[in-house]
């Protein structure tokens, strides 16, 4: 594995988006993962529609019928991937733009699909496997506890205590080997996380978090998706 890796430098990551006051982080995480996978499969970086999932994806968990994707009320990336497998894929952001509300009817047009899922799976709680899957398959959808993110401005977040009860969907786009942690007097490796709260949050929309100890549950709920090659 390379010591440092960043899909932003390799053209697989679209610009930072803003979900607004809507609990649709799961759709942004899923769409961003598919954007990266589609780039690897086709060589084209296309911004994909989160609103399509907000409006049209009401997939429920087979084992828990009351756990469903519900627009601004929340959802899960892996059930979103199931929806994308069944529905045929995502339209572009341009064709199905984001509104930040879930009151609209589903306007999905299958003939306008720009990227499709071929497969998805869960990555084990192992930093090397997460890094290997990131390098090989593209950016990864992850869940994270976001308590520290409300006040985060910059630097490598490495809280001593953080719940592992994740409630925010984001995207791992890379990792670094040397983010300096002054109180620990050494460089710490970190994940580079793309968020969906706009560029005026964090480090131009990005978050850095310590790598390797499942800080804030970031390594506990990782999924990888692959796209259909066209």
């Amino acid at each position: 594995l390379p010591s440092d890796f960043d899909w932003r430098d390799r053209g697989a990551v679209t610009g930072v988006k803003d979900q607004g006051s809507c609990g649709s982080c799961w759709s942004f995480s899923a769409a961003a993962a598919l954007e990266g996978a589609n780039y690897l499969a086709t060589g084209h970086l296309i911004s994909l529609s989160e609103q399509q999932m907000v409006d049209c994806d009401h997939t429920c968990d087979d084992s828990e019928p009351d756990a469903c994707d519900e627009g601004c009320n929340g959802g899960l990336m892996t059930t979103a991937f199931e929806y994308l497998l069944k529905s045929g894929g995502l339209e572009t952001e341009k064709d199905y733009p984001y509104t930040g509300t879930d009151r609209g009817a589903c306007k999905f047009d299958k003939s306008e699909v720009a990227a499709s899922v071929s497969n998805f799976s869960v990555v084990s709680v192992d930093e090397d496997q997460i890094a290997a899957n990131l390098v090989k398959h593209g950016p990864l959808a992850v869940g994270i506890n976001a308590v520290f993110m409300q006040t985060y401005i910059g630097g490598v977040s490495c809280p001593y205590i953080c719940s592992k009860h994740q409630d925010h969907g984001v995207l791992i786009v890379g990792y670094g080997s040397a983010g300096y942690a002054p109180i620990r007097l050494k460089d710490k490796p970190y994940w580079i996380i793309k968020n969906s709260w706009g560029q005026n949050w964090g480090e131009h929309g990005y978050y850095k978090i310590c790598k390797g100890r499942n800080i804030c549950g970031v390594e506990a709920m990782v999924s990888t998706v692959s796209a259909v090659t066209s």
């Binding site: 869960v122 520290f148 006040t151 977040s157 109180i183 709260w197 706009g198």
Partner: protein, 114 residues
């Protein structure tokens, strides 16, 4: 072990904790800057007063977060006028379901050497 949980119990002027004290002392001025920088408008004086109270509570939270997370910088963000519950309701939304996760097949192990 450098990862042993160590909680700093005294303030250090050389750390961000000192600047956070300054944040709390100048909460009025910081709130005005916050409103201007993030284009915030409230419905009236009552809402304004309520949001200022929440803002001050969030300054204290930022200070706590700074102590618990010293390698990052914590402070005023565009969410500084939201309570933790409002923040969770409006900006999060991941419905974690471990049972569902277990039903999805695992990615095969990849080689990580060389």
């Amino acid at each position: 072990d450098e990862e042993t949980l160590i909680r700093q119990v005294v303030d250090s002027a050389s750390t961000a904790g000192g600047s956070k004290d300054d944040l709390l002392l100048n909460a009025d001025a910081h709130f005005s800057s916050f409103l201007r920088d993030f284009g915030k408008n409230y419905s009236g004086p009552e809402e304004h007063a309520h949001r200022f109270k929440v803002f001050k509570a969030n300054l204290r939270r930022a200070r706590r977060h700074q102590k618990l997370d010293p390698s990052a910088v914590h402070g005023i963000t565009k969410f500084s006028d939201l309570t933790p519950a409002e923040f969770r309701r409006m900006y999060l939304g991941l419905r974690k379901n471990r049972r569902s996760f277990r039903t999805i097949h695992d990615a095969p192990n990849l080689p990580t050497n060389d």
